[in-house]
Assembly symmetry: C2
Homo-oligomer: 651 residues x 2
Amino acid sequence: MDIKKNNIIIDFEPISRRVVFSDDNSLYEILSNLDVPITSICGGLGTCGKCKVLIQRGNEYLIAPTSSEIKHLSREELNNGWRLACQTKIDEKNKQLIETLQPPQFRIFLPRELLLEDFNILVSGLSKGIEIQPAIQKIFIDVKKPSLDEPNADFERITSTLLSENLGLKKNDMIEIDFDVLNGIPGLLRENQHKITLTLWNNTKIISCEPGDTFEKNFGIAFDIGTTTIVGYLMNLNNGKIYAVDSKLNSQTAYGEDLITRLTYIKENEKNLQKLNSIVLNDLNEIIANVCSKANIKPSHIYEATIVGNSVMHHIFLGLNPVNIGLSPFIPVIQKNLNIKASKLNLNILKTGNVYTSPIIAGFVGADTIGVILSSQIYNEKELTLAIDIGTNGEIIIGNRKILAVGSCAAGSALEGAHIGDGMRAASGAIDKIKINPKDFEVSFTTIKNKKPIGICGSGLVDAIAEMLRSKIITRSGNFNREVTNHDRFIKKDKNTEFIIVKSEETSLDKDITISQNDIRQIQMAKAAFYAGAKIIIDNFKSNLRIEQVFLAGAFGNYINANNAKFIGMIPDIHDDKIFQIGNAAGIGAQHCLLNKSLRHKAQTLLDKIQYIEIAVDKRFQKEYAEAMYFPHLNLDYFPSLQLYNEIPKR
Amino acid sequence: MDIKKNNIIIDFEPISRRVVFSDDNSLYEILSNLDVPITSICGGLGTCGKCKVLIQRGNEYLIAPTSSEIKHLSREELNNGWRLACQTKIDEKNKQLIETLQPPQFRIFLPRELLLEDFNILVSGLSKGIEIQPAIQKIFIDVKKPSLDEPNADFERITSTLLSENLGLKKNDMIEIDFDVLNGIPGLLRENQHKITLTLWNNTKIISCEPGDTFEKNFGIAFDIGTTTIVGYLMNLNNGKIYAVDSKLNSQTAYGEDLITRLTYIKENEKNLQKLNSIVLNDLNEIIANVCSKANIKPSHIYEATIVGNSVMHHIFLGLNPVNIGLSPFIPVIQKNLNIKASKLNLNILKTGNVYTSPIIAGFVGADTIGVILSSQIYNEKELTLAIDIGTNGEIIIGNRKILAVGSCAAGSALEGAHIGDGMRAASGAIDKIKINPKDFEVSFTTIKNKKPIGICGSGLVDAIAEMLRSKIITRSGNFNREVTNHDRFIKKDKNTEFIIVKSEETSLDKDITISQNDIRQIQMAKAAFYAGAKIIIDNFKSNLRIEQVFLAGAFGNYINANNAKFIGMIPDIHDDKIFQIGNAAGIGAQHCLLNKSLRHKAQTLLDKIQYIEIAVDKRFQKEYAEAMYFPHLNLDYFPSLQLYNEIPKR
C-alpha cells in the first residue's frame, strides 16, 4: 500500500465533512484548512469566544479546557461538551490510544450561526432527503475458481458471483466490462486468490477491478465550472460525506472576463477552442490533485466526476465548439446529459472512470441551472418560487409543482464588482456590509476578514444603494439628490458627483472608496434586468401568477442582505421569511447528482418540462426594463410594503 | 466525391453477389476475379461448353453469341438467354446507354451444377430465411433548422427528426451519439443545408454523420479468422448481397502451425501477444483494403465488422491474453459477445464503427462454432444432428430442437495435409479425388485446377484410404495387406511400405506421390478422434440417442466425398441422403450475424443452453478412441450398411 495509514478521523456535522487528522492543529485551524470559514472576530486568538462547537464524540481525548474557554463558556456548556474551536486540540498523549479505536473517533457539531458561506444550504440540501444511491458501487468479491467441471471464463465467473451477491442486480442484467479493464482480469484473479474489488457503474458496467478489498476507497468529485470560479467537491460515495473542497479562479479569464469575449476568441481560430479546453482541464486536474492530497487518497480512487456549468463552459470542457451559442438563435451542440470515459476527456480521475455532465437547457441557460433546480427542488414547491442564480451570467427560474420556466439575463457582472469604480470580488478587504446614518451620512461597514478596506463587493454595493436610498442621498430614478450633495461626504471628479463610503485615510489605498453616478447606473441595470426578466417569464403564463417565495442562489446570493435586495427592487416585495439564501446551489446540484443517480434521470426529464423563455428578444422587455430601472420600480404599487418610498424623491 | 462513379452493376444469383463492372472482361473472368470458382474444363477457352449461365436481365446489351456458343448451346437455349460465361462480354458500343439505365442492369443466374465451393451453402443459408435486419441502419434526414422560437440544440433537432421518421424507433428510445462524431455535427449541418445521412447502430447510437445522401454506401464485413486461413466477406447492408470476398493465409502461422505452439510463443514473452495481435490485424486490414478495392468503396463506408474464430484467435484478435486457454482447466478471459469501437482495435473500417465478436463456448470451442450453430440452425432440426467442423482444430456439435452439446478434438491438421508425407492444402495441383481399380490397383484421380499433381489434399486422402480399403490394399486395422504388397505399385522406403498413387513421371515433382503406413495412421487418428468424440458427447445424454443426420462443415467438409468419410468410419452409418455438406458454416454464421442482429442475441442465449463436454479428459475416451481406430470401427455392428467390410481382413 502506498497510502499513509491515518487512523484518526474527525466528522464535522451537520456539514458532512470528514477529515483525516494529521497535524497537531486546533479545530479552528483544521476547519480553516478545510476551507470551512466560521464566525470568529478575533481570528482564532481565543479572545472573542464566538467559535463555539459541540463535541458529540471524543471529548475525553481532547486537551483540558483552556483559561479562555473557562472564561467564555459556562460550566454547564463545558459539561455538555461545548468548546471553543480555536482552543481545542487532540491531546498528544492520547494519540496512540485513539488510533486503536474504531473511526470516526470524533464527531463535532458546528452550530448554524457558526457557519459562514454556503454550508447551511449543503445541510438543507441534504435534509431534503437525498438518498445515497450513487452510480458507482464498489463490491469486494471472492470469485469462484475454475475447474474442469465448471470451466467458465474469468469474466463469466465474475458476473455470476456478482449476480449471486445481493446487490439488486437482476438475473438478466447484462453486465458489461470496460474493454481496457478486461485484459487485466486473468492476472488479477490468479495473483490474489480470486479475491478482488470491482467497481460497477450504473449497475451495468465494470469500470475497475482492484486486488483485494478496497471497498472503503470509493470517491467521486462534483465540479461546478463557473465563468469566473471553479469549485470541486471530493465526496466519499459510501457515506456521502465531503472529504475535501478546492476552488480556483477559472484560468480562462485570461482570454476574456465574460462568455461573449471567450466565444469571440474561439471564433478567431479553431485552435483556440482546444487551448481553452486544455486550460479548463488543467484547472480541474489541479483541483483534483489538491483534494486528493488534502484527503490523502489516490486520484485513481475517484471513479466518477459530475459536472455542472453554463452552456459555454460545458461545451469548452467537452471540447465541443460553442460558437453557435453566441449567435442568434443561440444553439448549443447538444443538450442532453452525457456520460464519457475520463481518459477520453483527459480528466485525471480513474482512466476508465465516468464523467457525467448535466443537461443544458438552452444557449445561455446551462447545466448549472439544472443544478440549481435539482438542489433547490423548486419543482416540489407548493408556492410559486422565483430562484435567481447570480454569477457572471444571471439565470432566473420560476416554478413550483406545476410549472417550470427559465430565462437568462446578462446582468451579473456588476454585482461581482465589474464596471464599478471601487468594485471588487468578495475577497479579503472587500466591504461586504454597509450602514449609513440618515442624519449625518456617517457610514459604518464591515470587511471580509476584517482587513482594511480596499473596495466594495456585491453585497456591499446592494447595501450601499439601499442605504443611500433610505438616507435620501439618491432619488428613486437613481440620481444623486441635489438637495444633499453639498454635504462633505460628496466629492466632484471631472464634474461627476461621488459619495464617499470610506475616506482614504481609513483604507489600504491612497484614495477614497466611493459610489459614483455610474456605479449606481450599473446596479440599476443589473437589478432591472433581473426584475424585468422575472416579469417577462411570469407574464408568459398569462394567468395572474404571483411570486410567493424567493430563492437566492450563488455565492453572491448567499452574502447579500436580502432585505436590501428587495428594497432596491431587485426581487419582488415578498416577506423576508419567504426569501431563502440557498448558497452555491449549482455546485450542490452536482454533488446531489454524484450521490444519487436517479437525479440524473430527473434532470433529463426536466428538460422536457422546462419552458425556456428568450427574455432579451421579448418585445415587452425594453418597457419592463425601463420601468424596473426606478427604485424599487416605476410603479410603487408593486412594492406596497416599502412605505418609506413615499418620502424618497422620484427624480 | 473522390469515388469513381460506376453505373454498371451486375447481380449474380442465386449467390447474391453484386459487382460494379469496370473492365472489359468476360463473365468468366469477372467471376474468377470475384473468387467464385465455376466448373470449367477448358479454363475459359470456349472449348468445353461447361460454363453455362442464364442471363435473366440485360441480354440485349451483351455481344452476339460467338461461334463457340453457337456450337455448344442449342437455338432454344440461346433464345432463352443461356450463354457461355467465358464467351460473353458487355458490348462496348452499348456502354454509354447502359450507364443511363437503372442499376442493376444485369442479372445473371448461375446454375447449381456450375458452382464449385461453398456458394451453395450460402444460398441454402440464405434460404433458411435470414431476414435483412442489420444492426447498422443508414438514414438520410433533412434536419429542422433552428429558430428563436425553437432553439433546440443540434443533437436534439437530429434526434427529434429521427424519431419523426418511421424507423421503428420508440419515443422513449434514448438515442446516443459517439462522442467523436458529436463535435463535427454543427459544421456538417450548416454546410449542407441541414441535409445529412446518419448511421445508427442498434437503434440507439449514432456512429457516423455524413454530408448529403449516402444511404447507398452501407457496408459491413464478416470475418472468419481461422488458425490457418482468414476470410472476409464484404456485404452491402441494405440488400444483403456480398460485394467482394478475400482470403489469405493467417500470417501467424509463421509463429506456429497449431494453437498450442502459438500459446507457447505468447507465454514466452508478454510482448509476443502484442506481436501476434498486430499480425492478425495486418491480415484483416489487408483483406479490408482488397475487398474495398474490388468493390470500389471507401473503408469508412464499412460501419460494422462481425468476427468468428476459435477461442485463441478470438483472444489474439482482441489483444486478450489466451494463455489460460492452453492450461487445464482451459479458461478463456471472456465468453460473452462483445461490441467494441473499431478504432480501439485498430481495425481499418470506419473509426467509430462497431466490431462484434460472437461469443465463445469454451477454451477450445470458439466463436467459429457459434457461427456453425447459427448458420446451420441445428437447434431447429427435428432429427438428432451431428455437425463436424473440420479445420486445424475439429469441433463436434450434436443437437436438435431439444438438446445441444459441443466438444472439440485436436484432429484436423492431418486432413489439411499436415504430417502426411505427400499431404498438402487444397490448392492448385492437389489431388482431390481418387479412384482405385480393385483388380489392377490402377489409380485414377483429379487435381484442383487440372494442374499436374504435386500432392494430396484432405478429400483425396479420405478417398485414398477408402479406396485402399475397398481394394483390400489395407486391412481394417490400417496395416498394408501383406498378401498384395508385392504388387508393383508398392515401394519400400527405409523398410517402410508405401503405396504409389501417382508415379513420378506424371507429377510436377521428380518423385512418386504415395501413401505410407504413417499417413494411414494419421488419418486413422483423425477419424477416430471425431468418431470417439461424437460418441462421448452422445453417451453423455445417457438416453439411447442415435445420430439421424450429419452436417459436414468447413472447406474440407465441403470437398470430401461424404460416402468415403462414412466408409472409413469418420462419421456414423447414416444414409447418404442425410449427410449434408454445409460449406464454410462458421463464416456464413459471421455473415448472418452481420445481416441480422437478432442472431447476436440468439448466440448469447445459446451459450446458456449449450452443454460443453471436455472430451479429452473423459475416462471413456481412450477406449472409444482405440476402438474407432479400426476401419470403420472395431465393432462392425455399428456400420450395418457397409456389407463390403465382411470381405476386408481385420489385421
